[in-house]
């Protein structure tokens, strides 16, 4: 074995142990190649074809070791469904040397039937506060060429300049989570961000978590019911678990946007909720209530959507974390399964076609307008 080979082996072992190194983009690429080669020759020298697949460059900023560990676990869970090159950017003042350091890891996943594997790569860059100024250049250098880049912006407390100055220019899809917003005020910040991103899509994990509920509710108005009761709706109640106000507002916005309701005013209610008044396109009026309630719930935080049209009621209500009850006048009530999606499932959906839902942008804008009606005396936080 030559000296170069020894050195390469030592580097490989160092990388394999996850030890930090001084950041050298060329070396990162070489060592990722070595990991790929090692995986291909795994199993006693038996050569097995290993796909080195990447459908996305996925950039994920995090703060501190704890958040980084959560992020890594999320990437590990995403990898089997969507191969990505994950570039994790961690700001950590306790990191030690004060310099930017990198580690690499790989995910090799056996496929059903044996033999087939997916190979995803994770590059973690860690640096102290202020290092965010260097992250943009590092991301640009480490992107797999020709592969789209998505940024998963989960922590609203990260320095916003990292996103707006460094990452947005290279981001083809921005993924956020309004479910973790500190409050509806962030909806307007997010709407401004979405405007900067256009025509590139913004995907919202909270919006995607609402998909099952929206589907079930929409299904109530399939034939033979049709859209008639929606046009003449007089009352809407959206119940959410504490902290789920943003999700509830998005549901009201979804219905308001599609049904052409004109928001008039909003009033705080004694139970800590909201009452929103609307004009309908046919000249009628409608009251909508956003009501904090108790009950078992998944991360969507949504408990029920109840719509009244004349004396008829159309309701989707959560009976348990994984069950919902459908109620409409023409058929007996029916309990159906409600999927509780993991964060990884939702992230995978955000990277797929559902992550470029143009309706979300419209509903986000509408929800921002709803919040702008809010009396200043009410602090949602």
């Amino acid at each position: 074995m030559t000296g170069d080979a020894d050195s390469a082996r030592a580097n490989f072992e160092r990388f394999a142990r996850g030890e930090p190194i001084a950041v050298d983009v060329g070396e990162i690429e070489r060592e990722l190649g070595a990991l790929w080669q090692a995986a291909s020759h795994a199993g006693g020298g038996q050569t097995g074809a290993v796909s080195r697949a990447a459908l996305w460059n996925l950039v994920i900023p995090a703060r501190g070791r704890e958040e980084l560990a959560t992020t890594k676990a999320l990437v590990d869970a995403i990898a089997p469904a969507v191969p990505v090159r994950a570039i994790m950017l961690c700001l950590d003042d306790a990191a030690g040397s004060g310099e930017l350091a990198a580690t690499i890891e790989s995910n090799v996943v056996s496929q059903p039937g044996g033999g087939r594997v997916v190979y995803s790569e994770e590059i973690t860059l860690v640096g102290p506060t202020g290092a965010e100024a260097h992250f943009g250049a590092m991301v640009r250098a480490l992107q797999v060429p020709g592969v789209r880049t998505a940024t998963l912006w989960m922590d609203a407390a990260m320095p916003s300049t990292l996103l707006t100055r460094e990452l947005l220019p290279v981001t083809r899809r921005l993924i956020v989570d309004t479910g973790t917003c500190a409050g509806p005020l962030h909806l307007q910040d997010l709407e401004r961000l979405a405007a900067r991103m256009r025509p590139r899509p913004v995907a919202d994990l909270a919006w995607l978590r609402l998909a099952s509920f929206r589907l079930l509710f929409a299904g109530l108005f399939d034939p033979p019911v049709g859209g008639g009761p929606l046009r003449s709706a007089t009352r809407l109640a959206v119940r959410h678990r504490g902290g789920g106000e943003v999700s509830a507002l998005l549901i009201v916005a979804w219905l308001g946007e599609l049904l052409g309701w004109r928001p008039l005013r909003s009033v705080g209610t004694s139970d800590g909720g909201l009452r929103l008044d609307f004009d309908r396109p046919d000249g009628g009026s409608l009251e909508a209530f956003v009501i904090p309630s108790a009950g078992a719930c998944d991360q969507s935080a949504l408990l029920s959507i109840e719509l009244a049209s004349g004396s008829d009621e159309y309701v989707v209500s959560r009976e348990a974390i994984d069950r919902a009850r459908l109620q409409l006048p023409i058929a007996p009530a029916r309990v159906v399964k409600l999927d509780a999606y993991s964060d990884a499932d939702i992230c995978v959906a955000a990277l797929g076609p559902r992550g470029r839902d143009p309706l979300f942008a419209r509903c986000l804008e509408y929800a921002g307008r709803l919040w702008a009606l809010q009396p200043a005396s009410i602090d949602p936080r």
Binding site: A49, S51, P83, P112, L215, L216, F221, L258, V336
Partner: protein, 523 residues
């Protein structure tokens, strides 16, 4: 101007906007004729369950099984549960979800040609629809013996269960399993009978090969990527091989296969459909009729094999005893329900030409057989060699032409073989493969073909179904071969070589390609 009052039920559902990606059809009832048969248990109900599991069916959806076998709803549900336990893509079956799904499964006994049974069916359907708040949308799945297709459709018409499409009215669609006729005459006759009752837009002739992800990807691959289509013609393509091989024998269906043979069972439908997708011109839109128009042109452009060329372009054979996966298997003539002197082909290899500007002079080699070593369906596009060979002229060192192989089953995906210089000082060239596999690149196995096709029918999308004129065009080409074989038999000149089970077919098939300086690819 007089105002027209639109009943609220006729208003579209505005909440469906933005849920397009979900492709969820309107509430409906699916009636399965032949519900006590194998297809319902192994494929149809597992597909419907998996669609439900994936939230691709509406919450209001019912299945009414119809069959000659007497059983009640609960027995039907139990049988279908066992089918889902064994065959559903989404396993294990989720108990609460199954409970909700099974509540809307029903069964009705009856004969396919009994008008009274269809009146009872109508009453039952209306009762189910009333109880479950269903709008009267209906899909009738004919999972019956082919002899029942016409009687069932006639009975549907007599009972007014399948009215022609009209705006604002519930839909009635009919899915017809293969085989659609056994030759050109019977296919034409069946088309006539079906069209007496149904509009062509209501008819969904199913060929489950078209529901496979790679078959659909073939269109994307060709027409959504700029680099392949310019090569997809006789300037660059040397020849095309399409293989549909099975390891299984007749599997207890000897009676059926004796009448069908490989030509009817595989070539007339699956392989010619795959061929037409591989060879067609770009459609003006990805719409059902536009795609099917282009497929039809290919089928009509298939050159009929002249009598003088039969022995050079058609090989049929029958499997003899041999070994599959380390297990001794009997020859075809020793299979149950098979005539010991049978002349039915279990293997067929064809060399055919498409008379079009694009494909002039390019042979398409098709082969299909039972008891071959491997179950595989693939299209392999063999490109011409580079016009001037700079490398590989040393003795024993040949450069293989590029091959693009499109694997339809199993391991759906696409691979491109090309020559690459081996590392080192010498100019050694080795073939390497660049592979795309659905399972690896997208991290999940594609849905079952039946799931896709059932969903498409519920959505009213006929793109992946075969139109009546396509069926007739393919039978028109295939029936000439059958006529030739019939004449051979009548003259006592049947040539039917045997091949050992577990081999890749008879030597005659190898010789057919060798005569052109080519060889079958090992898939």
């Amino acid at each position: 101007m007089e105002k027209i009052s639109v009943p609220s039920s006729a208003l579209p559902n505005p909440l469906r906007e933005g849920l397009v990606e979900e492709r969820i059809p309107e509430p409906a009832t699916m009636v399965i004729f032949g519900a006590s048969g194998d297809l319902a248990r192994r494929k149809l109900l597992p597909a419907l369950y998996s669609l439900t599991r994936d939230r691709l069916l509406p919450a209001r959806f019912a299945v009414l099984g119809f069959g000659r076998h007497a059983q009640d709803d609960d027995a039907f549900r139990e049988e279908m549960r066992r089918g889902c336990d064994e065959f559903a893509r989404r396993r294990p079956v989720d108990a609460p979800l199954w409970a909700a799904f099974a509540r809307n499964l029903f069964y009705q006994q009856g004969a396919y040609d009994d008008p009274a049974a269809f009146q009872r069916l109508k009453v039952r359907l209306e009762e189910i629809e009333r109880t479950l708040g269903l709008p009267g949308n209906r899909v009738f799945y004919l999972s019956t013996p082919p002899s029942a297709f016409a009687p069932v459709i006639r009975s549907l018409g007599q009972a007014d269960l399948a009215p022609k499409p009209a705006p604002g009215k519930p839909f009635a669609r009919v899915i017809i399993e293969k085989p659609f006729g056994v030759d050109l005459e019977t296919a034409r006759a069946l088309n006539r009978q079906v069209h007496e009752i149904l509009d062509e837009r209501q008819i969904y002739r199913i060929d489950h090969y078209l529901g496979k992800e790679t078959v659909q990807n073939l269109l994307v691959f060709r027409f959504a990527n700029g680099i392949f289509e310019p090569l997809w013609n006789n300037h660059f393509v040397d020849h095309v091989q399409i293989t549909g091989s099975e390891t299984v024998g007749v599997e207890g269906r000897g009676g059926y296969f004796e009448q069908a043979g490989s030509m009817r069972d595989m070539v007339q439908n699956h392989l010619l459909q795959v061929l037409s997708l591989a060879a067609m011109e770009p459609p003006v839109a990805f719409e059902a009729d536009e795609v099917r128009d282009e497929k039809l042109k290919v089928l009509k452009a298939l050159r009929h094999i002249p009598e003088s060329e039969f022995e050079h372009q058609v090989v049929r054979a029958q499997y003899a005893a041999g070994s599959i996966a380390g297990r001794a298997v009997p020859g075809y003539r020793a299979e149950p329900a098979v005539n010991p002197q049978s002349t039915t082909e279990t293997y067929v290899a064809l060399k055919l030409f498409i008379d079009s500007w694009r494909w002039a002079g390019v042979p398409f080699y098709l082969r299909s057989g039972k008891r071959l070593p491997k179950r595989v369906t693939e299209i392999a596009i063999h490109f011409k060699e580079a016009p001037h060979l700079l490398f590989g002229q040393k003795k024993g060192q040949a450069i293989r032409p590029n091959v693009l192989s499109i694997r339809i089953q199993p391991d759906e995906g696409i691979a491109l073989n090309f020559g690459s210089k081996m590392p080192g000082p010498a100019m050694e060239i080795a073939p390497v493969s660049m592979e795309f596999r659905y399972g690896s690149s997208f991290g999940f196995e594609p849905p079952e073909a039946y799931e896709r096709l059932l969903l498409d029918c519920l959505l009213g999308d006929g793109t992946l179904f075969t139109r009546g004129d396509e069926v007739e065009a393919s039978w028109s080409w295939v029936s000439r071969i059958h006529q030739h074989w019939a004449a051979e038999t009548a003259a006592g000149k049947t040539t039917l070589p045997a091949y050992a089970a577990g081999s890749w077919g008879p030597e005659e098939a190898d010789r057919m390609l060798a005569a052109d300086g080519r060889a079958w690819r090992l898939p």
